[in-house]
């Protein structure tokens, strides 16, 4: 028997709200229901083009911009409803979700959309038709970014991921099946329903479905993840997700993976020039560490300070103070530090002076200064500060899993960026600028829009 405490998840199937019979998921306090899946309705047959294959990209941009306006106004109350339910499933506090929802529209602004089209694809012409290219032997050929069939496994740690996925999916003109994660069961559908309210029955609207199934459920994934139905699996995050997805990858069914990532910060000795520079660096370091209360991959967890242990301690003390400040995408209070981490930290406290700890376990911020990076994964507004003699030494701590490296002062990026890139890093930013990736730049080492398209030649 179902109880009234269960959260009800809405599905969108080909642009329309789906009212299938509810199925129960989750355990105890995280229980929810979602409509039973009709697998046939989740694929767009290859015997016919997708609904939006021939819609001019200018029209799609217009629709996205209007959707953005509608999201900003939320006249239908769809975002408000989603937000209300998100509070029950998301690890993020309500105020952070609220602020994140309030700016979802930003992903739908015209300049940003064209930045993606222009920088990633070299212009809209190749989306709308065949781009003539001259070959070395003076022959000509034509090439086109053809709409793909995509199944997206999205991450739920930041609502912007759903917005970004809808935008990219729409710009491709292809068909898109979004699989909802249990930590964000509502944002994607709220966006799609808002779009449907703006333009009911629009081909782009009909090109989207967003549904839940339990990640890894073979009865669903072994059926859907086939080249007969989709070209590419666009998978975000989670090692288990990516490993699970790999089983299905094969000829004709490709994986586009936004791998799980982690981020670090490098603080140059210039931070110690004056109390003002130190305050600036600590505040910027705190901003980067607390992005989505440290739930995002761009959130810095290890910060290397060029200086003595005493310098590192001065920075750490200030940083700890600044971690407890509410920002656009973080709250003053974060999650309480998990019991297992508390113990590890208690032990480190007893190993002074090699280790020093600032802050408590209440989620308002905690900083550990250690002679080298700690073995555990700092999480929930926790930063590990490590003193180094030269910033160049920190390259050894960057690797293929390191996404964003924030550097203070920004001028020091130049001397470090090649070495960091060589180690595997994908973004080098001025400290404080880790949050919010500008549209039109690469993401995780590639241009997403370019990877999502099917490139077809006429030779």
């Amino acid at each position: 028997m179902s109880t009234t405490t269960e959260t009800e998840v809405v599905h969108v199937v080909r642009g329309e709200v789906d009212h299938g019979s509810p199925v129960a998921y989750g355990r105890a306090d995280s229980a929810f229901t979602a409509p039973a899946l009709d697998l046939d309705r989740l694929v767009w047959p290859r015997t016919e083009p997708g609904p939006a294959f021939h819609v001019p990209v200018a029209e799609i941009v217009d629709l996205l911009v209007e959707t953005g306006e509608a999201l900003k106004a939320d006249r239908e109350g769809l975002l408000a409803e989603a937000l209300d339910r998100m509070v029950r499933v998301s690890p993020l506090p309500a105020e952070v979700l609220e602020r994140a929802y309030a700016v979802l529209w930003r992903s739908f602004q015209r300049p940003g959309l064209y930045a993606q089209i222009d920088h990633e694809l070299g212009g809209a012409d190749v989306l709308d038709g065949w781009r003539e290219v001259r070959l070395p032997d003076n022959r000509t050929a034509a090439t086109r970014a053809f709409p793909p069939r995509l199944v997206h496994i999205i991450a739920g740690n930041a609502p912007g991921v759903a917005a970004m996925s809808v935008v990219r999916g729409a710009l491709t003109k292809g068909v898109n099946l979004l699989k909802l994660p249990s930590n964000d069961l509502f944002t994607a559908t709220a966006i799609l329903r808002t779009m449907a309210a703006v333009a009911p029955g629009h081909p782009v609207v009909r090109s989207f479905s967003a549904v839940y199934w339990r990640g890894g459920d073979e009865t669903v994934e072994s059926v859907l993840f086939r080249p007969q139905f989709f070209d590419k699996l666009v998978a975000w995050g989670g090692e288990a997700t990516i490993r699970g997805a790999l089983r299905y990858v094969g000829p004709g069914f490709e994986l586009v993976s936004f791998d799980p990532k982690t981020s670090i910060s490098l603080i140059g000795r210039e931070a110690f020039e004056s109390p003002e520079t130190l305050a600036r660096a600590a505040d910027a370091g705190a901003a980067d560490a607390t992005f989505f209360n440290q739930q995002a991959c761009v959130a810095s967890r290890f910060q290397f300070v060029e200086g003595s242990w005493e310098d590192a301690d001065r920075y750490a003390a200030l940083l700890c103070e600044r971690l407890g400040v509410a920002r656009e995408f973080s709250s003053a209070d974060g999650p309480r530090v998990a019991a297992e981490l508390r113990e590890e930290i208690d032990v480190l406290r007893s190993l002074t002076p090699d280790y020093r700890v600032w802050g408590g376990y209440d989620g308002r911020g905690l900083v550990i200064r250690s002679p080298e990076p700690v073995d555990f994964h700092p999480d929930g507004k926790m930063v590990n500060v490590i003193p180094v003699a030269e910033l160049s030494e920190t390259v050894a701590y960057a690797g293929v899993a390191t996404q964003t490296v924030g550097v203070y002062p920004g001028i020091r990026k130049t001397e470090l960026r090649d070495a960091l890139a060589c180690a595997g890093v994908q973004r080098v930013v001025s400290l404080g600028g880790a949050g919010g990736m500008p549209p039109g730049l690469s993401h995780d080492g590639f241009y997403p829009l370019q990877r999502l398209m099917r490139w077809v030649n006429d030779e």
Partner: protein, 447 residues
């Protein structure tokens, strides 16, 4: 008047260890908890920190114990660099914060590897039992000489409880384990062989002792890979060495299998972790040894979780079928606990009297214990018998504990047979793009 802890420990030889009146036992346990807290708070800094932080200054009720429980990670909370960098004095200093070992107790002068470090701690009258988790980092759980004697008492008096096996050396022994090493299961198997097997007639998987450094080698290699300093040749050599080791052990198991098949009409002692036991059973069946055909005085010891699901779901049923008619030790326990919860005639696992079971909610914060009835939650406990370390711990297991008297007629509490790890229960389908470096690199290599 012996102390409450001594009275509880003495129950191991009483003949009715698991049949104490519930109310009396609870009072004695609470008194013993006070004694343990007072004694350990003096000597174990981590417990002292915890007590100060949580404001618990005395034990009035089991609720007061909850904030004092450690998680299993406490015992592997040392920075790995202490081992990779050979900082044995710092590792010792860490050890003195989580155990009763004092810095002056152990001489670490000239130690060159983790095995030598472990030997030095042992030489100082302590036994650092290790457990290895999936992370590759090992836990060090300290026991002192009294704890080891108590463990030995348990096996001598309670093996095969509720119908304890007389301590007579009448069996041919097979230990699917190395000759030695700081693991409680290895010591346990050897002691069982001393008590229950004929002298000089025990076969081992290998005459080499288990080396902690070898057990940790994959973790250390992974660390070097994450740092980008491991070479492809190094990775390849490591994998080849692991393969060779596996083959060697496979050959040893094959010899043991032949020997068991030849002597199966005699009383035997067969001890091994579940995965080795499973391999053994498969091989014996392949040799034509039918289920239920071993001598009825045979003693079988098995244990260990099904980490990463390497065994089929029905392995317990397969064990029961193959070993039908022999004496088996059936228990629920973990290295962290002195003396397991033993299965009664009704198949429920009775909590030994020196262990206070604490059933917590899933986050491990709220005590759910009742006087009567069945409670579902996370298994935690205070083992008041422990001298070498604080015995309060929170496990990862989801259990059902019956606080009412058991069907077998004894007073509770008893852990019911449906035991699972929270980690295996699922229900989480949360996807985030934030990774740990370790999981990323491990994934890349072993995928």
């Amino acid at each position: 008047m012996p102390s409450a802890r001594e009275q509880l420990r003495a129950l191991v030889r009483s003949g009715d260890t698991f049949d104490q009146p519930a109310r009396d036992l609870r009072e004695l346990q609470l008194e013993a908890a006070r004694e343990a807290f007072t004694a350990h708070r003096e000597r174990i800094p981590l417990l002292r920190t915890r007590a100060t932080e949580s404001g618990v200054h005395g034990i009035e009720s089991p609720d007061d114990l909850v904030p004092l429980l450690f998680s299993h990670t406490s015992y592997k909370s040392y920075p790995l660099s202490f081992i990779t960098g050979g900082r044995w004095d710092r590792l010792l200093r860490w050890y003195t914060t989580v155990s009763v070992v004092e810095p002056g107790d152990v001489d670490v002068e000239g130690v060159t590897d983790i095995d030598e470090w472990t030997d030095r701690v042992t030489a100082a009258g302590h036994r650092p039992y290790i457990t290895s988790g999936t992370s590759g980092k090992v836990s060090f759980l300290n026991c002192d000489a009294g704890d080891l004697r108590f463990l030995h008492d348990i096996l001598e008096n309670l093996t095969c409880w509720p119908d304890p096996l007389p301590p007579e050396p009448t069996r041919r022994g097979y230990l699917l384990a190395p000759a030695g090493g700081p693991m409680r299961s290895i010591d346990g198997y050897r002691w069982h062989a001393d008590v229950f097997a004929r002298p000089g007639e025990t076969r081992l998987l290998t005459e080499d002792p288990m080396r902690v450094s070898e057990l940790m080698s994959s973790a250390l290699l992974r660390r070097r890979m994450a740092e980008g300093t491991a070479t492809p040749q190094e990775i390849s050599s490591f994998e080849a060495a692991s393969g060779a080791r596996e083959e060697e052990l496979g050959a040893a198991v094959a010899q043991i299998v032949d020997d068991i098949a030849a002597h199966r009409t005699e009383p035997l002692l067969i001890a091994g972790m579940n995965n080795q036991q499973f391999t053994l059973i498969q091989a014996l069946r392949a040799q034509g040894v039918p289920d239920g055909s071993l001598h009825p005085d045979t003693l079988v010891l098995s244990g260990g979780g099904n980490k990463n699901g390497v065994l089929p779901d029905d392995y317990q049923q397969q064990f029961a079928a193959f070993y039908d008619g022999v004496r088996r030790v059936r228990s629920y326990g973990m290295t962290e606990l002195q003396g397991s919860c033993l299965a009664c005639e009704s198949g429920n696992y009775h909590v030994p009297p020196w262990v206070i079971p604490l059933v917590l909610d899933e986050p491990g914060e709220k005590l759910l214990n009742t006087e009567q009835g069945v409670v579902e939650g996370r298994f935690a406990f205070l083992d008041v018998s422990l001298e070498g370390r604080w015995g309060g711990l929170i496990s990862g297991d989801r259990v059902l504990v019956d606080f009412s008297p058991c069907d077998c007629g004894r007073a509770g509490p008893a852990v019911l047979p449906d035991i699972r790890r929270y980690g295996d229960l699922g229900g989480e389908d949360k996807i985030t793009c934030a990774a740990t470096l370790d999981s990323y690199v491990r994934g890349m290599i072993h995928g």
